[in-house]
Amino acid sequence: MKIDLFSIMIESILEVIETVAFLVAIPVEEVDDEAGQADCISIKIDYTGFINGSMYIKAPYAFTPVLAANMLGIEEDDPNIMKKGEDAYKEVLNIICGNTLPKVFGKEPVFKLSMPQIAEDILKEIEEAGPKVVSRINLDIEDHIVSFWFTTDTDLPG
């Protein structure tokens, strides 16, 4: 059976955003990658196992206080909200990646996840890595466009 990576990503991401951050996300089709590039934070996590790859999240800095406040139950004017928000993005990506892998590859394989870290330019990084599979999801969360990428270094099984 062919793996529907796009649907799996949508399911995993929406579940995590809703359960961990108590936010509703709506998929959107087209986004302008050039617009507001400098005003976004990008985070990356790598997974290694019988297949290797990465997951990425890119979100506007303006969304950071919203995510942190909802995840941690703090006020958006908390003095450390941006740092706490960066950590929140990292944890969200970690959970999404951990949630997506067994849905794509089954529950038997063990994968090792790297520590999430800041990425400079996701599109350039993906182009240079040259993965076999790239799937992208764009979401509207509280009027902010947040994008996710999932890549693998080999073709998906099935």
Binding site: T19, K84, N94, I95, L101
Partner: protein
């Protein structure tokens, strides 16, 4: 009756999320202790009465597997309920942890309702 709960995770963010979720689930808490790794968790257990432990697996200094192994060595795992909360999705790893004596496993993300159900069962509430 309120309980002493220990949350072990190297991420302050996740510890905050678990604290918030316990609060939303209206779990009666006397003291909520936090540790950044298994060793810090063992130190807290040595000095305090703990009713329930939530622990992550992947942590620096001492990971969750080593922490559970030491609780086993000290014969504490039968009396002290340990719940692993992790992104680990491998059924092989979860079976290993259950064989080591953990009482339950929660896969992130988890809802307040799911957390409450596990706490109620292990602490005899509800």
């Amino acid at each position: 009756m309120a309980f002493n709960i220990l949350v072990i995770d190297d991420s302050a963010t996740i510890r905050s999320v678990i604290k918030r979720t316990l609060k939303m689930a209206q779990v009666p808490i006397n003291n909520l202790f936090e540790a950044g790794n298994g060793q810090e968790g063992l130190d807290i257990i040595n000095d305090n009465w703990i009713d329930l432990v939530f622990t992550d697996i992947n942590m620096p200094v001492m990971d969750g597997i080593e922490f559970i192994r030491i609780l086993n060595e000290k014969n504490l795992i039968k009396e002290l309920p340990v719940v692993v909360i992790s992104t680990e999705g491998s059924s092989t790893r979860i079976e290993e942890l259950l064989e080591m004596g953990i009482k339950s496993y929660l896969h992130k993300p988890f809802s307040p309702e799911k957390l409450k159900a596990v706490v109620d069962e292990l602490l005899g509430l509800g």
